[in-house]
């Protein structure tokens, strides 16, 4: 395990999506360590565990059994040692309502799950190379939803 590897955590109940995600990261030429949580409960248990090293970016699916992504997001933003965690919403839904809600609750970026592997790689590349300092300091409704050029 390399020290300077980017630490990524994906919370998604869908096995295929986790597979796509893993494959995409392997193909992206960046040193990363990708971990997975299978649902909201597992995610929160992992984050709350005292020995856990917090990820650099958390990719959060919204539609999960047991505990939804939105509930997790609210909990994270309420917890003192987690509230500065960078949260990227990663969802099939592109409904205005979901985008609006997660923006208000403090997510950093909203990613609509793409429908091709190529697009997924592009998105991942974009997100991991994003200047997070710039992106977190002034949250902007217009740049919240990630659009690929």
């Amino acid at each position: 395990m390399q020290k300077n590897a980017l630490h990524i955590l994906l919370a998604d109940d869908d096995e295929d999506d986790r597979l796509f995600f893993k494959d995409a990261f392997e193909e992206v030429k960046i040193q990363t360590k990708v971990q997975f949580a299978h649902d909201g409960i597992e995610l929160m248990a992992h984050l709350m565990h005292p020995e856990t090293i917090l990820p650099d970016i958390l990719f959060l699916d919204l539609n999960m059994p047991k505990k939804t992504g939105k509930e997790c997001l609210i909990e994270i933003k309420k917890t003192e040692h987690l509230k500065h965690l960078i949260v990227a919403i990663y969802s099939t839904s592109s409904s205005e309502e979901d985008i609006e809600d997660t923006f208000i609750q403090g997510a950093n970026i909203y990613i609509k799950k793409p429908s091709s592997f190529d697009a997924l790689k592009k998105i991942i590349n974009e997100v991991v190379t994003l200047n997070w300092h710039y992106h977190t300091s002034g949250l902007n409704r217009d740049t919240f939803l990630l659009r690929l050029k």
Binding site: D17, T92, S93, S115, S116, F117
Partner: protein, 595 residues
């Protein structure tokens, strides 16, 4: 309509009557006084005459005595002496009478006394002459003296009597004069007063007959409005009642009895007995309400059920208001509505609403299914296809490659369909926030969104200046996108598409069949293109969901949702959209948006 006229006359009438009665009483008392005066005057006259007669009589008695004595002296026959002897008695009686008559007059009494003295003197002379004429005591000188003296006294007596008569006559004349003056003045006064009273009475008679006429008119009006009220109570299934809070007397309108299932006026309403009609479920609430009326003099709106005479259950609504009249008595006025039909209709509406809510919820969950659950497997299909075409395409057979391509195209089409369907349903379900927006800006945004295809097709879009309107901005933008992309999609081959957008302000009256007339002014925005157009017989169906005029899916890809969305958006803005076309010349889409 002013139902209660201003009947001021009663007060005026009362005053007039009081004055008239006063005048009549006055006239009566004056006439009574006159009568009494007349009576007094005749009495006085009688009195004077009586005195006169008595005095004359007195004189004649004295004369009788004188004549009798004279006869005796001449004849010496004692028979002549009889009048003389009786005359003294008669004179005395006369005196007593006169004294009585003159009791009220001291001056006359004095005169009477003088007269009495004179008469006594006369009798003394008479006695003297009788004595000196007697043969035994004859004395010529003394007899002469007596006779002569008697004559002088007699004259004095006559004089005295005349004087007394004069005094009486004087009194009579004076009194007569006073009465005369009184009587001569008062008749004119009385007549004047009588005329005044008469005119007053006539005046009040006129007033009364006027009032009577007005009363008749108002009575008629009142009768009409009472009838109207009774009829409208029957038609409107409501009733009115009055409850005098002081005497606890309750009056129902006819329809109140009917609402309770009884013929009008078939029983005497009492506050205690109304509870009998109230449904057992509502008795508790109703009796506490009755208590509230008595304590607080208030009757807020109350809903309750009653059981009619025939056992039918009816739903009532009652409201009351306290009225305090001029005399300070408190009357609770109430209206009761029979809302049974309404109640059941409401229940039906409520149930239908619930059903609607349920189906709306189902629709919403369908939305969720479409937006998420349906997209997820599709997205995965597409991702897997993309992985196959990226990595494993070369190891496939030619036909396999073809199938993969076809799967990809179908999946893409399905995605477009889902997206469009979502867009359509969101047009109705998402928040509708109206903002004052510059429509030109929205058109620019729409053009920007379509810039790629506009450039590709070399399209020219010319637009008038568009107004600022209260709209849902993203929907209007969507509307423009759909209309423009529709024109671009169905452009004529080899001709650069040209879209002209015109805008003008119109009034609703100009399009009475299309526009909602309660909104006065609209903006009419027209999109004219030079595309291939469509058969005008489809100008209505073109807006129906999934209605497509072209079957060749490859040539003109479309879902049949775009124009349905346009219609929905315009309807969301209380506007209207119409389409018309000349095939192979172009189409015209016209939208009307309220100002």
């Amino acid at each position: 309509m002013k139902l209660i006229p201003n009947f001021n006359s009663p007060l005026a009438l009362r005053i007039i009557f009081a004055i008239s009665i006063f005048i009549l009483l006055f006239i009566t008392s004056v006439s009574y006084k006159h009568n009494r005066d007349l009576q007094n005057s005749s009495k006085l006259m009688m009195h004077t005459y009586e005195i006169n007669i008595q005095l004359e009589r007195l004189l004649s008695f004295v004369k009788d005595a004188e004549t009798g004595q004279r006869g005796y002296i001449i004849t010496k026959n004692s028979r002549f002496l009889a009048p003389y002897l009786f005359s003294r008695d008669k004179v005395n009686r006369s005196f007593i009478k006169l004294k009585k008559l003159m009791n009220d007059n001291p001056k006359q009494q004095q005169n009477l006394k003088n007269l009495f003295d004179l008469i006594i003197q006369r009798y003394t002379y008479l006695e003297g002459s009788l004595k000196y004429s007697n043969e035994k005591t004859y004395d010529k000188r003394k007899l002469d003296n007596c006779m002569f003296g008697g004559r002088i006294v007699m004259e004095n007596i006559r004089f005295q009597i005349d004087e007394m008569n004069d005094v009486e006559k004087d009194i009579l004349q004076k009194r007569q004069k006073i009465y005369q003056s009184e009587i001569s003045l008062t008749p004119i006064f009385s007549i004047i007063l009588f005329l005044v009273a008469l005119s007053f009475i006539l005046l009040s008679y006129r007033q009364i007959s006027n009032d009577l006429n007005r009363l008749k008119v108002f009575n008629k009006k009142l009768l009409i409005s009472t009838k109207l009220m009774a009829e409208s109570e029957i038609i409107g299934a409501f009733s009115t009642w009055q409850w005098d809070m002081d005497s606890d007397k309750i009056v129902y309108s006819d329809n109140q009895y009917r609402l309770l299932g009884y013929p009008p006026n078939s029983f005497v309403p009492k506050k205690e007995t109304f509870l009998e009609y109230v449904h057992p479920e509502d008795k508790q609430a109703f009796s506490s309400l009755m208590q509230g009326i008595i304590e607080n003099k208030q009757l807020p709106l109350i809903y309750y059920k009653v059981i009619r005479k025939n056992g039918e259950i009816r739903y009532f609504k009652t409201i009351g208001k306290l009225l305090i009249d001029e005399q300070g008595s408190k009357i609770m006025l109430g209206i009761t509505f029979d809302i049974t039909e309404e109640h059941f209709q409401n229940i039906a509406i409520y149930e239908r609403n619930k059903e609607l809510e349920k189906s709306n919820k189902e629709l919403a969950s369908f939305n969720h299914v479409a937006s998420h659950d349906l997209q997820e497997p599709l997205r995965k299909i597409q991702t897997f296809i993309s992985r196959i075409s990226d990595d494993d395409m070369n190891s496939l057979s030619e036909s396999g490659k073809g199938y993969i391509l076809k799967i990809g195209t179908s999946a893409k089409r399905m995605r477009i369909l889902i997206d469009d369907l979502l867009l359509f349903s969101r047009t109705n379900t998402t928040k509708k926030e109206f903002l004052k927006t510059n429509i030109t800006d929205l058109l620019e945004k729409a053009k920007l969104e379509l810039s790629e295809i506009i450039q590709e097709k070399n399209a020219i879009i010319l637009a008038d200046k568009l107004p600022k309107l209260h709209v849902i901005p993203y929907q209007i933008e969507q509307l423009f996108i759909n209309l423009i992309s529709n024109s671009l999609k169905y452009s004529q081959p080899n001709i650069a598409p040209k879209i002209n957008i015109f805008c003008e302000k119109i009034t609703a009256k100009e399009f009475p069949d299309l526009l909602e007339q309660s909104i006065k002014k609209y903006y009419k925005i027209t999109f004219t293109d030079n595309g291939m157009g469509f058969d005008p017989q489809f100008k209505e169906t073109i807006f129906v969901l999934f209605q497509r005029l072209h079957t060749k899916t490859d040539e003109y890809p479309g879902t049949g949702i775009g124009l349905a969305i346009c219609k929905k958006i315009v309807e969301n803005h209380k506007g209207h959209i119409i389409a018309d076309s000349t095939p192979n010349k172009g189409s015209v889409f016209t939208i009307f948006l309220p100002e």
